[in-house]
């Protein structure tokens, strides 16, 4: 087994990317990269730097042969797919129109065979709490929608776009089925978070309690509490992940983040995602600092003040960007 080095020197990085590393050194760097996600990130940063510089010289790029006809057809198909998704999840006027159509249709059908009515809830800038006829509770995140019957008949079936937290009431005889894009999530009684992203073409499920079956085409994955799986629709892979220890995945509904000695780099990333603000560290040494804290229902500026006070940093705001600066910490 190769020893994992604590730190990769700039010379080692350069040798690695220039293809001058020995096999042993290559292995060392790669096992270092695999040792933590911070390392993996730094690795990606160096590879990006290296590849970016590769594009500005005058060297010829490797010519890749392409089939223009097929490519154009694929683009057309994808464009249509994106547009159908957008019609359902974005412009409110189109949604309003489609609800009317759907409702109209259902009223007509109801007249004929008294089927239970289907309901459609779409959130914009708000979250919405829903209780279904079987007692299941759902918190719908912003810009999400749920389609569900007013009364469940012999099956429990709903359709989600965006993100929601589901607390499904237990009923072993009637499984609860959620379709989201082309994926389905099947449960008996449990609590979990589902989220899809059109831009990334992903669907993620994070389980709080119970057991969930996550399926896409012929792929299936059973998830237990604390587990998270993400489906990458483009590559058709379901990848298992641990949920973020800071509670970031559920921040949208818990408004809570906790850090347990993680690096400032990690903390800043979590805050960036939680609060949707651009936060930078003024220099790499700052990522060596670590933080343990719990923030609940706190504003970003409060949190940053606490961090600044704890680590002796300065918070600067310029436009929409926030920069943390200070002396940094020794690597541990």
């Amino acid at each position: 087994m190769d020893q994992e080095p604590k730190h990769i020197t700039e010379e080692q990085w350069a040798r690695y990317f220039a293809g001058e590393s020995t096999d042993q050194e290559t292995n060392q760097i790669e096992s270092w990269r695999d040792a933590s996600s911070n390392n993996a990130d730094l690795f990606l940063e160096y590879s990006l730097l290296w590849e970016d510089f590769g594009t500005i010289g005058n060297k010829e790029l490797t010519e890749v042969s392409v089939d223009m006809g097929t490519a154009w057809e694929k683009i057309k198909g994808q464009k249509e797919m994106i547009e159908t998704e957008i019609t359902v999840s974005f412009p409110w006027f189109k949604i309003a129109a489609s609800i009317l159509v759907v409702m109209g249709l259902f009223f007509a059908i109801r007249q004929l065979n008294h089927a239970p009515k289907d309901l459609f809830v779409q959130t914009q800038n708000n979250t919405e709490f829903l209780q279904l006829s079987d007692g299941s509770e759902i918190l719908l995140n912003r810009n999400s929608s749920l389609e569900y019957p007013e009364e469940f008949s012999n099956e429990r079936k709903v359709k989600l776009t965006g993100e929601g937290f589901f607390d499904v009431s237990h009923d072993p005889d009637k499984q609860f089925l959620i379709t989201i894009g082309e994926a389905t999530i099947t449960v008996l009684g449990t609590a979990f978070n589902i989220k899809s992203s059109e831009l990334a073409d992903t669907v993620s499920v994070l389980v709080s309690r119970g057991k969930v079956l996550f399926a896409f085409k012929d792929k299936e994955q059973i998830l237990t509490p604390g587990q998270k799986a993400t489906l990458f629709t483009s590559t058709q892979q379901i990848i298992m992940q641990n949920s973020d220890p800071s509670g970031l995945d559920e921040f949208w509904r818990t408004h809570r983040l906790q850090f347990n000695g993680q690096s400032l780099r990690y903390v800043v990333k979590a805050l960036t995602r939680a609060y949707n603000k651009n936060i930078l560290l003024s220099k790499p040494e700052l990522s060596n600092c670590s933080l343990s804290a719990i923030f609940e229902n706190d504003s970003l500026s409060n949190i940053l003040d606490v961090i600044a006070l704890t680590l002796n940093l300065e918070v600067k705001r310029e436009g929409s960007t926030i920069t943390l600066s200070g002396d940094g910490c020794e690597p541990n």
């Binding site: 700039e10 996600s37 790029l61 993620s204």
Partner: protein, 176 residues
């Protein structure tokens, strides 16, 4: 330029598809994937054309967009797949949606390169642009192999410092 017009997108496609795929290949080293990423960029541009504002040129926008798509892919699949047990900040929506158009990126890279001491820059360019081996560089310049290694390390260090602003932005920039 009306980006929702099929003729406009088709013309952009005809003109740039091939070179964009080659460009993307530099980052992801997979032909099919490069094509998929470029196709997706075109599809999104077409579908969302009405809300996209091109700052410099269509080519610069497209290069920036495919590089960004490649980066998002590398972040998600390559890195996270390999290091699956250490997932810390995986999420489906940490995609970088705001990105530098290529011309702007290129300016930053060229500016950073200018900050290197002359010798250091020469060595870096021989290695990176002309893809010369360390040994060849040492022979050509009449210096030791150790010096080449040193200078390459120094170059990376300075470039990374110079681009300190842009690298974190790549990772932190998110929704508008």
């Amino acid at each position: 330029m009306n980006l929702t017009d099929e003729r406009v997108i088709s013309a952009l496609f005809q003109e740039h598809y091939q070179s964009l795929v080659s460009f993307t290949f530099q980052y992801v080293r997979d032909k099919d994937l490069s094509e998929e990423l470029v196709q997706e960029v075109f599809a999104k541009l077409w579908a969302d054309g009405y809300k996209i504002k091109i700052q410099t040129s269509a080519k610069s926008y497209l290069l920036g967009a495919v590089r960004n798509a490649a980066l998002n892919y590398l972040k998600h699949v390559k890195v996270q797949n390999t290091y699956a047990q250490h997932q810390m900040y995986v999420a489906s929506n940490d995609e970088i949606q705001d990105f530098l158009e290529y011309d702007e990126l290129k300016l930053k890279l060229e500016h950073a390169l200018k900050q290197l001491p002359e010798k250091c820059r020469e060595i870096f360019e021989l290695s990176r642009f002309e893809e010369k081996r360390y040994k060849e560089i040492a022979n050509e310049l009449g210096i030791s192999l150790k010096t080449v290694e040193n200078q390459m390390g120094k170059a990376l260090k300075i470039l990374r410092q110079e681009l300190g602003d842009y690298l974190p932005i790549l990772f932190f920039l998110m929704m508008r």
